[in-house]
Symmetry: C2
Subunit: 256 residues, 2 copies
């Protein structure tokens, strides 16, 4: 069992290049969004207006790459397994490290991988961990609250469970308010505008067994769907499922 | 018992010019901070880094005065009983309405008046309501996390209680995370650098009875102490205790 610093060092050394679910259990994981300073205020307002998909863990000083509050000593240019680079809303690269500019501002946003240890500890299934694939994520027909130039759809992650398990999972995840909290929907993909559970927009499909329902949580990939709609000059993010592992305790309350 | 809209209308008509504790019970009240857009991103980062004193309920679009999320139809220029205007950190006026500029951005921040109905319902004392004075508030020696140009001390509000009552009040207020949540300290003013309980920095002194301890909560007047330290060109705020009454349910969770 590696510590967060050990996970980040392995990623930096390119010994680890995979989705980060179940790595460094007990510690909060984070979505990354990097934007030019000119767009940063609008984006932070977007996060504040949409706390379910975008709970903010830390906003770095412009031009800096070390998240001093959540992972002192880390480097956001190298310590995630994979990045995505969007130019005017178009995905142009998926590198394993990124360059920085003086005017870039990094945002770390809570991630649902953070509560998966608690689900597993309660005997609940986390299918993508069982199947060793990336979590399935879907663009929905639910609009986020717009802020300045940023508007777009809510993205959700999905874990299949029986109805009883879904109730228990709701109880368990509700207190994790800086990791998306309780599910946003249980049961009917069409209610979220999702037409094909077996064709996620991000990540991999997982098996939904007899008697199970899809359980949907708000997802920190939302800013990437928003980038595609809002087309900022540049947005750098993590690749879906390839998160930043912080030093924060998974149950940390100071960050909500 | 007036609704929030009725309270705001009475304030706008100057029929009501007093601290807002216990008005429109059941609804969230808010601290106001207004800054030029040039300082707005740094200030919002300051709030995100200091969620106990500065839980953000809404950030308005630059230049606008209607809080469409928390009180549609309201006008932040007229709907608070009293304002404070700080120029380069110096308090220069305390008007009952304010002018607006195109470049001003308004922030609404949660307020501890929001949880006082729950305290009273549990039979706990809220001394400033009993005594019909403003809540006592104190600048502390605890530094907030700085962000950009904004740095300064934590401000706290105080309610005297017996130790047993303080425990119960902690249980009750902890879930109100967008209204400062649980106390930051119980019992020893000196631990917060407070030398005279009977001489608050804002609001009025209240009686602390035999067997009671001072119970301190983080306070949304913190930005005013920060303004005095950080000296932005202009900062408009509510006058301490003279809050904006929103339409949000006091227990609203969507805003945390």
């Amino acid at each position: 069992m590696r510590t967060p610093a050990e996970v980040r060092a392995a990623i930096r050394a390119r010994e680890l290049d995979e989705p980060t679910a179940a790595l460094a259990p007990g510690f909060a994981q984070a979505n990354l969004v990097v934007l030019p300073e000119a767009d940063a205020f609008d984006f932070l307002r977007f996060c504040v207006a949409n706390p379910r998909p975008c709970p903010v863990l830390e906003v770095l000083e412009p031009g800096t790459v070390e998240p001093v509050q959540t992972a002192p000593g880390a480097d956001l240019r190298t310590d995630l397994p994979r990045y995505r680079v969007y130019r005017r809303g178009r995905l142009i690269a998926e590198p394993s490290e990124v360059e920085w500019r003086e005017d870039l501002v990094a945002f770390l946003i809570g991630c649902s991988f953070t509560f998966e240890r608690a689900l597993l500890a309660a005997g609940l299934p986390v299918r993508h961990v069982e199947q060793a694939v990336n979590v399935p994520m879907y663009r929905t027909s639910v609009a986020c609250r717009p802020a300045g130039r940023f508007a777009g759809p809510l993205v959700v992650s999905m874990r299949p469970m029986t109805p009883d398990q879904a109730v228990r999972a709701t109880e368990i995840t509700a207190p994790f308010t800086s990791a998306h909290g309780a599910p946003v929907h249980v049961g009917d993909p069409a209610a979220l505008g999702i037409t094909a559970l077996d064709a996620p927009d991000y990540g991999d499909a997982v098996e939904v067994r007899d008697g199970e329902l899809p359980v949907f949580w708000a997802c920190g990939v939302t800013p990437q769907a928003v980038a595609q709609a809002s087309k900022p000059e540049l947005m750098i993010t993590h690749a879906p499922g390839h998160m930043f592992v912080t030093d924060l305790d998974e149950r940390d309350r100071a960050h909500r």
